[in-house]
């Protein structure tokens, strides 16, 4: 672990990215305490404050550093809360997708035969189908709400994990230590849980970070297409989409600031993921 960190530290960009992620996660966790306004408490919003530019002093008496949106929400507060929701969605979707995908992938790699064929065909089938369309159809079917959106995201993403886990598990399965376990012999479940699974985790973690970022971006896109979260509980994507209509009229802050927040978040997660990937890649070690 220490060696890992020492190596990680060498890439200052990755360190900055990690710091950004940590700051964002902290801000998201502490959102209710650090934001001047609770943007979800509708009663605390004032329509009179709507669409005011950055620096405006609102009816509550404090400065809206990033301006307000069409509902009179303080954008800074909204962005921090939006980050919170986006992260929640991304992480929840990522974790569920990882659990389901890894289970399926490792199971099919271990079981072999028709189980493998059946599961992997379905996964292939799904991979051969654009995630965004799948999510689109699912959200339309399931309706609006966080859990529905997470389901759609999971459905759109688990296949990547399943593929990765399957690939890793088939590679592990051929390794001597698994054969040694079979030769002992150890029961199948034990081989899967104690031997194959732990060794499949590194690639899964890498895919996981990227998929969390992807989930956040996908959620934003769905929001843009009108199939996202309720407008009173906006994610970053929703904030961007809501502010989108004001871009042409020069009130760009409504969309641009959440956009920048989103980009910073996703870029940071991706950079961290990249670095971890590079560090896990034994061929690039030195």
């Amino acid at each position: 672990m220490r060696a890992f960190w020492r190596e990680y530290r060498e890439n200052w960009i990755a360190v900055v990215a990690l710091a950004v992620v940590v700051v964002i996660v902290l801000a998201a966790l502490l959102a209710p305490w650090i934001t001047p306004q609770n943007p979800y408490d509708l009663a605390s919003l004032d329509l009179m404050d709507a669409r005011k530019p950055p620096g405006f002093v609102g009816s509550e008496g404090y400065v809206h550093w990033l301006g307000t949106d069409a509902q009179g929400r303080d954008l800074l507060s909204a962005i921090i809360h939006g980050l919170r929701i986006s992260l929640q969605m991304g992480i929840a979707a990522g974790l569920f997708a990882m659990t389901i995908g890894a289970t399926l992938g490792i199971l099919s790699a271990h079981a072999g035969g028709w189980v493998e064929a059946a599961i992997m065909r379905v996964v292939d089938l799904q991979l051969s189908f654009p995630a965004i369309l799948l999510a689109l159809v699912l959200v339309a079917v399931l309706g609006q709400g966080k859990s529905q959106l997470v389901i759609a995201l999971v459905a759109a993403q688990y296949a990547y994990f399943a593929r990765t886990a399957y690939g890793a598990a088939t590679a592990e399965r051929q390794k001597d230590y698994v054969e040694a376990a079979h030769a002992t012999p150890l029961p199948g479940w034990r081989i899967v849980l104690r031997h194959i699974l732990p060794n499949c985790l590194p690639p899964l973690i890498v895919v996981g970070t990227v998929q969390v970022a992807n989930a956040i971006a996908l959620e934003a896109t769905l929001s843009f297409l009108g199939l996202g979260l309720p407008p009173t509980e906006p994610s970053l994507g929703m904030l961007i989409a809501n502010g989108f209509q004001y871009m042409m009229s020069g009130r760009t802050w409504i969309s641009v600031y959440p956009g920048i927040a989103l980009i910073v978040l996703i870029v940071a997660i991706n950079i961290v993921g990249d670095q971890i990937r590079d560090q896990f890649n034994p061929r690039l070690r030195r």
């Binding site: 020492r6 190596e7 060498e10 030195r286």
Partner: protein, 323 residues
């Protein structure tokens, strides 16, 4: 006879500057090589054989580099030579063959394409001329029907055939020196014997000097004229093959020979060297072999051994008696 040897290596040090520290893979290696001579380089894994070979041809992977020393090829200093000039030498005057032919040949290019590229790397040659040269060279290394097989891909050859292709590629420009890094280790004994036989006759025919890197004492003994034994980046013993192996003077060389099952009676315990090879990151100040050496004493642990030169080079405070 000749004024200067073909290759003259003086106090070569090649170090890898890794995260964990400086790996002194080659530490003060010196030797020279005459035209047409076959030099065997033996030692256990990690002793620095390959790095020595790569240093000669200027292909040490980063984070490694030649820290100091001199490599004179026909009197010309190679250390610090501009990359372009070094490249002009590679393949033309100095060639190299690697251990695993499956990994060295490009699987997606035909043999002909790869060899043509190698021909054209040194001066203009039409594709036809290059192919012709390639075919002739393949024939020389014992590939039948070479012209037709130029369009084949590496996977269509067996391991032994692939190694022949790699050797032919090295021979294309008739180099003066070939560095062969364990070219038969990945092959079966029966194929290994074929390759060894061919290499020996090729070297004899063309007068090419050969640095033959191997961990197998037997192979080296039957091929080389002289042998260098490496341990932990240093040459611990060097001399004519027969003499050195029959009567090794360094305890390590002795230990290596005794470890061979062929040297013992079946079923009897082998005379093993205890311990393992040291990490190159933190070598003891004295003789690197001291911790494993049955003859070691306090001096060995603190002072690097001097070179004892009689008929041959031995780096030991307490060399074994000459036979």
């Amino acid at each position: 006879m000749s004024a200067s040897p073909l290759l003259e290596v003086r106090d070569l040090r090649t170090h890898f500057f890794t995260r964990a520290g400086v790996v002194k893979a080659v530490e003060g290696v010196s030797f020279s090589l005459e035209k047409g001579e076959i030099l065997g380089l033996v030692g256990e894994s990690g002793s620095g054989k390959s790095v020595t070979g790569f240093s000669l041809i200027g292909l040490v992977d980063p984070p490694g580099r030649i820290a100091s020393g001199s490599i004179k090829f026909e009197g010309r200093e190679l250390v610090g030579l501009p990359p372009a000039e070094m490249r002009a030498l590679r393949g033309k005057r100095i060639a190299m063959v690697f251990q695993d032919p499956a990994a060295t040949l490009n699987p997606v290019l035909s043999i002909g394409q790869q060899m043509t590229l190698a021909v054209q790397a040194h001066g203009r040659a039409s594709d036809a001329a290059a192919r012709d040269l390639a075919a002739r060279t393949l024939t020389r290394v014992g590939i039948p029907d070479a012209a037709a097989r130029l369009d084949a891909y590496p996977h269509e050859f067996s391991g032994g055939m692939r190694q022949r292709v790699a050797i032919a590629t090295a021979l294309l420009h008739g180099p003066d020196l070939i560095i062969a890094d364990e070219p038969t280790t990945a092959l079966d004994v029966s194929i290994q014997a074929q390759i060894l036989a061919e290499m020996k006759s090729l070297a004899k025919e063309t007068g090419t000097a050969l640095v033959w890197i191997s961990h197998d004492l037997a192979t080296v003994s039957s091929l080389a004229d002289r042998v260098l034994v490496m341990y932990a980046g240093r040459i611990v013993e060097a001399g004519a093959v027969g003499e050195t192996l029959r009567a090794p003077r360094h305890p390590y060389t002795r230990g290596l020979l005794d470890s061979l099952p062929a040297m013992a009676r079946p079923g009897e315990k082998l005379n093993q060297i205890p311990g393992t090879t040291p990490s190159l990151l933190s070598l003891p100040p004295g003789c690197p072999f001291a911790p494993r050496c049955p003859r070691a004493d306090a001096v060995c642990a603190t002072d690097p051994p001097d070179v004892v030169t009689a008929s041959r080079l031995v780096r030991c405070h307490h060399p074994l008696e000459a036979a």
